[in-house]
Symmetry: C3
Subunit: 240 residues, 3 copies
Amino acid sequence: MPNSNPAPAAMTLDDVRSVSPAFAKYTEALVVNDLWKRPALSARERSIVTVAALIMRNQTIGLLPYVNKALDAGVTPGEISELITHVAFYAGWPHAFAAVAIVKDIFAQRGIGADQLPPASPELLPVAQAVPDETVLAAVVEGLRPNFPGLMDYTEEVLIREVWRRPGLVPRDRALATISALVAGGLTGPLAFYLNRAVLMGITQAQVSEVVTHLAFYAGWPMVFSAIPAIQGVFSAPAP
Amino acid sequence: MPNSNPAPAAMTLDDVRSVSPAFAKYTEALVVNDLWKRPALSARERSIVTVAALIMRNQTIGLLPYVNKALDAGVTPGEISELITHVAFYAGWPHAFAAVAIVKDIFAQRGIGADQLPPASPELLPVAQAVPDETVLAAVVEGLRPNFPGLMDYTEEVLIREVWRRPGLVPRDRALATISALVAGGLTGPLAFYLNRAVLMGITQAQVSEVVTHLAFYAGWPMVFSAIPAIQGVFSAPAP
Amino acid sequence: MPNSNPAPAAMTLDDVRSVSPAFAKYTEALVVNDLWKRPALSARERSIVTVAALIMRNQTIGLLPYVNKALDAGVTPGEISELITHVAFYAGWPHAFAAVAIVKDIFAQRGIGADQLPPASPELLPVAQAVPDETVLAAVVEGLRPNFPGLMDYTEEVLIREVWRRPGLVPRDRALATISALVAGGLTGPLAFYLNRAVLMGITQAQVSEVVTHLAFYAGWPMVFSAIPAIQGVFSAPAP
């Protein structure tokens, strides 16, 4: 049985031009030379936003170029490692496995070994720093536990008590990745909760707005417009 | 033109570890050694849930290992065959074709031939057994027929009168696959209807709850949380 | 690092039969010999609907056969080129790049060169013809500009002022592709707006109904049923 995972080749601008000169023009003028250079988010932040969105949407064709771009923009191998683990909980294991298939070759090619990766079980960050809204979550979990005991056990033991507290990716970056994944995946239900967490971690409204601008190109206009009501709700709420 | 469908290789735990020791730890401790061994659903049932979800989300990387796992756990080749056909109507033809591309090689490798597959046109199960809520569906179809005559003809002739009545996969397994696909695909609109059907077919609330727990790992936490309101609505409704 | 994009091979009916005789039967009887021959939409129109839906859902396995089918049914190479560019804005860049990876080989095999593709910057159609509802959009954009300045700039400068006005794909075909992509992607929020635009461009209710019928097979029954409320709302609204 044939059995391989060639990383899908990134399309070059010439490839795009051979199908659509217009699409090549928009890619170059809008995305490469404009979007990525807008000051509201750094290239490092845009890389985190993009990789999270690509995993969420299983867009494997973008992972080879954008994980390389992320590494070039200052996202460390350890942070890529944590980012995949983090997004696995939000996008599902198989999407994260598809990312592993591509990133393991990137790591091998760059000579990135185990010594550059975060340990499986590091000392965790304090709850107050990583999960500042733990009491809100705990109340949700207790309310749902009678009908969903298994799901709530995993939610409490892993998602609340562990994942966000892993030190290999700072909580602010986890918040950035999470809201990007939720917007890109059309999962607007929990978006308000994570936007509030992002604000607690210092992400500004202007930065959230720019995440949405960025994701219009990576997830499409209708997807980001679908997230606007939830975002407006958080923006217009009185400060607590 | 290059033209092939190599089945995407399943990632081994060592592959995962080379990118993220933490992700390998969670995979082993939470999914392999815990989730799949929880008693509320058998490995056979979890296989049906997983394969339905993978097709629904076009997660081809998971199909090679999980269809093999399903066959090892007691899902027959004939049931895999029916499962793909069934989910085609809920996930769309192209997702099911992507599954065919992988499963045909698995069947060839295992020497599974036409004699082990259900016939195209078998004798159908009684309506009362396979579509116990036919009158509810018929009313919906009649209401929508003026504006959607083509869709309603296909719905009536194939989905209502035929697919669920095919004997190669028992109605209870079809219900399990359908609610799994709907939850995994975020298609919560028709979820209440199919949950009620699942209950009629003997699937308990505890089993539905466990399907949701299982799918948190395969479709991500936000996706299954989005299904909770519809599920709670069915759970809390008075018995008919 | 392996690095290639073989176009996923289309499954033949024999491939499908080797996994499921029933699925082959339904494919042949319902899709090939019935759906595509229904008179409410031409094969050319069904090709536009299908390709838009496949890009929207990243169903690369369908692109090789269906882009070829589109070219055989009278969609010109220039229209395929514009269609990919158009849908990029609605499905996101990476899905469109995955289409480019497959279509560039189809174009090469058929000897389709730059002379058959629309220029990057053609003379644009009049606003009244391509964006008849521009004042509605402008009001939305102004309302959202305070919180989403970047997104609104791109929306105004490119989506409103340029994409729909490109002459390489007539506005009616753009409307057909857009509503197909929105239904296939479950993005029902903006569906009413684009349905109204489609009606302005001469697409009838019977044709919209047939688009939904067609997409049931390509995106699954629950996805198209999710779009029905928005469509019913437009159908039942009094004529303006």
